[in-house]
């Protein structure tokens, strides 16, 4: 009896320790984000205060109002940046997914001579830091005349995302037993139908997660975009953040407000697709 009680107490203490540990870790991870959100609602004086003001005394929408305001009042073309970001990120994600699906499926299903080498080469391209490519890309794009265009940025982001989408989608198709497609073919499907009616729906969750990764990479990318976009034609939101810097001042509040606007769509998208990400859809069709 006594032993049982001490055991119970120990279990409870342990789970409490777990909880505290997790809370601390999560605070560390979330604090910068929360700080950005908080600062976007605070007057500049409070943001710049030393020592920092932890508990805000006044919250308002001044930074947002200014951001959407006219040129003279610290306004930036938020909507244009947002549309640029959206068009570039969505288009590049869709293309990267299509290429990734074709490539990933081929890697997962077919014997290709030199498969290993091709795969490693694809991965190695990701080992090159993006910034290192910015100058060569700038020169190349300059010659081609595609600097400061949606097309140029989409091209860059497709190239950036294709290796990882191929890699991820290859993994997901590997988990789909090849007997499923064979069964579909025997049931009367063409190779193409077997893919779209059976293999694709089964791997859908994985493809969706590869899509999120690709979208977020494009959405958040700054280093290359800052070099290759020049004007309202193609400037994306991360580059737009730099509008808040001037020679002698930094408008931290405005920057935070724009950052919040950037986070919201990414957050929404992740929540929307999250239910597709739940694993286990694949399992059950075959033994187990």
């Amino acid at each position: 009896m006594d032993q049982g009680r001490s055991h119970r107490i120990r279990r409870r203490l342990l789970s409490l320790a777990h909880f505290i540990g997790l809370f601390l870790a999560m605070s560390l991870i979330c604090l910068p984000g929360l700080w950005v959100v908080l600062n976007s609602f605070r007057p500049t004086v409070e943001i710049m205060a030393k020592p920092p003001v932890w508990i805000p005394t006044e919250l308002n929408l001044d930074h947002y109002r200014a951001m959407f305001g006219g040129i003279g009042e610290g306004g930036v073309p938020v909507l244009t940046y947002f549309l640029n970001s959206l068009v570039i990120s969505l288009t590049s994600t869709v293309i990267a997914l299509l290429v990734g699906m074709a490539g990933g499926y081929a890697f997962a299903r077919y014997r290709i001579p030199g498969k290993g080498a091709i795969f490693v080469t694809l991965m190695v391209t990701r080992a090159v830091p993006g910034v290192a490519l910015s100058l060569p890309l700038f020169i190349l794009f300059g010659r081609l005349g595609i600097i400061d265009t949606h097309f140029g940025m989409i091209l860059v982001y497709v190239a950036l995302n294709v290796p990882s989408t191929i890699w991820l989608i290859d993994g997901f198709f590997r988990q789909v037993p090849k007997e499923l497609a064979e069964a579909a073919e025997i049931d009367g499907c063409t190779r193409w139908q077997a893919f779209w009616k059976v293999e694709f729906p089964v791997a859908r969750a994985g493809i969706a997660s590869a899509g999120i990764f690709a979208f977020l990479t494009s959405w958040n990318e700054y280093a290359l975009a800052s070099q290759l976009t020049r004007s309202l034609n193609s400037k994306t939101m991360p580059v737009g953040l730099m509008d808040f810097t001037s020679q002698f001042t930094l408008n931290w509040g405005g920057m935070c407000a724009l950052a919040v606007l950037m986070i919201i769509p990414a957050l929404l998208l992740t929540f929307l697709v999250q239910k597709h990400l739940i694993a286990g859809l694949t399992f059950g069709g075959v033994k187990g």
Binding site: P177, E179, E185, I186, D187, C189, T190, F283, G285
Partner: protein
């Protein structure tokens, strides 16, 4: 209607042949089992019939059509896979109706066909579940239902029972046999389990290393194996094989024990042979073996016993080789006890020691 004919069918991967020019005639409505150890080419053969593997040479005919270059969907076959290959994103109902749906058959026809198949396999209460919510045996039945729903010319089964536990396997074996009696369609069934082969088949095709070794009814291959491989592969426990030499019209085992030559077998004097005897035909003296006119007797120490209830398996050593014998009315036997065993010679086999071929005339 739909017989299946294989003529000189070859499969090779690059320069590596895995199926060597096999010939096989399967009659309409026949239940044929391809059996053999792993890597013998039985699954590859089945997949060539299904159209899932290219045929490197020879012809495969289903009915009157040569199907070599037809894709699987044009062969009017159904296949049950080892891992069932149910579509995990569809309900049982959708799984069953998928082939008809693809063929763009009218809705009411699909509903009727699915209901009928579900009825035959008692799947009706499960129709709205997804495969993930089914037990192994239920999944197996859905896979069979998907196969029968479209009334194919031929059913192909690729080791369909090997993922089930022993009890369920016995049960499903019976269901498959019943299904065949009910629908009467030609079945080609691949397994590595000789018991499945014996219990299910009208005819058994025994394969090894890409060749067909023997084709025959279960009793034919059991009673008249063409070589030592078939003799040890078919039957449980496997046939005992004892190395021996033919001397003066008798068999001499390696330790000098002499056994009269079994009747109906031919062997040259001095020929090295393997003497084959099943456990059913070597029993302790006085233990209810059906008496025959051709008996031989040997003394053998018992090293291990396996009581099975109605009978007990006795392991002994004869001329340096382990031998399994049967005792039909069991009594306790001590390890090391030397018993006198009777061998029913007219049920025994002789195989050439080099080629393994049967020496029965």
């Amino acid at each position: 209607m739909a017989d299946v004919v294989l003529r000189d069918v070859v499969k090779s991967y690059g320069a590596l042949p895995v199926v060597h020019a096999i010939n096989l005639d399967i009659a309409h409505g026949e239940f044929v089992v391809l059996v053999g150890p792993s890597g013998c080419g039985k699954s590859t053969t089945l997949r060539m019939i299904a159209g899932l593997e290219d045929i490197s040479g020879g012809t495969v005919k289903i009915g009157d059509r040569v199907v070599n270059d037809l894709p699987p969907r044009d062969r009017n076959i159904s296949m049950v896979f080892q891992n069932y290959a149910l579509y995990p994103h569809m309900t049982v109902r959708e799984n069953l109706g998928f082939s008809l749906h693809i063929a763009k058959r009218p809705k009411d026809e699909i509903v009727k066909a699915v209901a009928q198949a579900a009825e035959i396999l008692s799947l009706t209460p499960l129709l709205d579940r997804k495969p993930g919510q089914l037990s192994g045996g239920q999944r197996q039945r859905v896979a069979m239902g998907r196969a029968i729903v479209r009334h194919p010319d031929v059913f192909l089964f690729d080791e369909p029972l090997s993922n089930l536990d022993a009890k369920l396997r016995t049960q499903m074996r019976v269901e498959i046999k019943r299904l065949h009696q009910k629908v009467g369609t030609t079945i080609i069934y691949v397994t590595h389990d000789q018991i499945e082969a014996m219990t299910l088949a009208d005819r058994i095709v025994i394969m090894r290393d890409g060749h067909i070794v023997q084709i025959g009814t279960p009793l034919e291959v059991f009673e008249r194996p063409v070589n030592a491989f078939v003799a040890t592969f078919i039957g449980s426990p496997p046939m005992n094989l004892l190395p021996a030499t033919v001397t003066d019209g008798a068999l001499r085992l390696s330790d000098g024990t002499a056994i009269p030559l079994p009747p109906g077998l031919t062997a040259r004097d001095g020929q090295a042979v393997q003497f084959g005897v099943r456990a059913d035909n070597i029993m302790p003296e006085g233990h209810a073996m059906p008496p025959t006119s051709h008996m031989a007797f040997v003394d053998m120490p018992v090293t291990l016993t396996e009581p099975l209830g109605t009978e007990t398996l006795l392991f002994g050593t004869l001329a340096g080789t382990e031998v399994q014998a049967k005792m039909l009315n069991p009594r306790p036997v001590r390890t090391g006890e030397v018993l006198r065993f009777g061998i029913a010679l007219d049920k025994c086999h002789l195989f050439d020691a080099e080629t393994g071929a049967s020496l029965r005339v």
